[in-house]
Symmetry: C2
Subunit: 146 residues, 2 copies
């Protein structure tokens, strides 16, 4: 299948190490950044106002490893990659739900940005009622610090 970026993420993070460091003292929910949507796709942003949260599908563009296992931080164990959000997975596709703060033309200000500077955006979708699963349980993640 053919895929091309619709935009690019601007964040203060140049490396995974930067993100890890920041998470030691701040909540991911407070990480600020911008989603720059390329001009040709800007018309598709119509009606996006009023959604408090957006689902961002993006490329893990710095990931060079296609692994079936991951060693999540704060865990120390080898986990099946599909039970983790590790960037080093068979398809280098990431998904983060961000809080949408403000639109200015083709740029969306948001918080909850845990992506690296320059991350290619593949899609934006509205977060809907159906995405809220209040009675969810979280397998091995329940046993560790999140």
């Amino acid at each position: 299948m053919s895929i091309r970026p619709i935009g690019v993420i601007h964040s203060p993070f140049q490396s995974r190490e930067d993100i890890k460091k920041q998470r030691q003292t701040h909540e991911v929910e407070d990480f600020l950044g911008e989603l720059e949507i390329f001009k040709e796709f800007e018309p598709g942003l119509k009606d996006i106002d009023g959604f408090s949260h957006l689902i961002i599908i993006f490329q893990f563009h710095k990931s060079k490893q296609r692994n079936l296992f991951a060693h999540p931080p704060h865990d120390g164990k080898k986990r099946g990659v599909f039970s983790t959000r590790s960037p080093d997975r068979p398809n280098a596709i990431g998904m983060t739900i961000v809080r949408f703060l403000k639109r200015k033309g083709n740029t969306l200000k948001a918080s909850g940005i845990d992506m690296l500077e320059g991350t290619p955006i593949l899609d934006i979708k509205p977060y809907t009622q159906r995405d809220i699963k209040k009675k969810a349980s979280f397998g091995w993640l329940s046993q560790t610090k999140k």
Copy 2:
């Protein structure tokens, strides 16, 4: 970027029309289906037990249109595609959170399957605490039947 399917979805739906019809009388949450993960990726399913919900990233393989606008059902208005979950979008990537019921080898039984039979699976991620946004608001979707 290079992307290849890690598996395939089995559902009772052969067409979008089938899904629309079923939604008139049933809740999407009750739609049953199976996620067949190709054998070579099966080791990545380790530790997936215990997660009640999984994020499925997939290809809208029947979509032939790359549109910037959509006409959602029950709405009648032309909406910016990034404020909708329409399959006809710049990158034909879909995302649905399903309820994970049971694993049998390389096959995951799930409910909440609103994808077509034969849909290529691109990724599976665990649904985590951070994906629950209790105080979300839903823009134009708030004004219509969901």
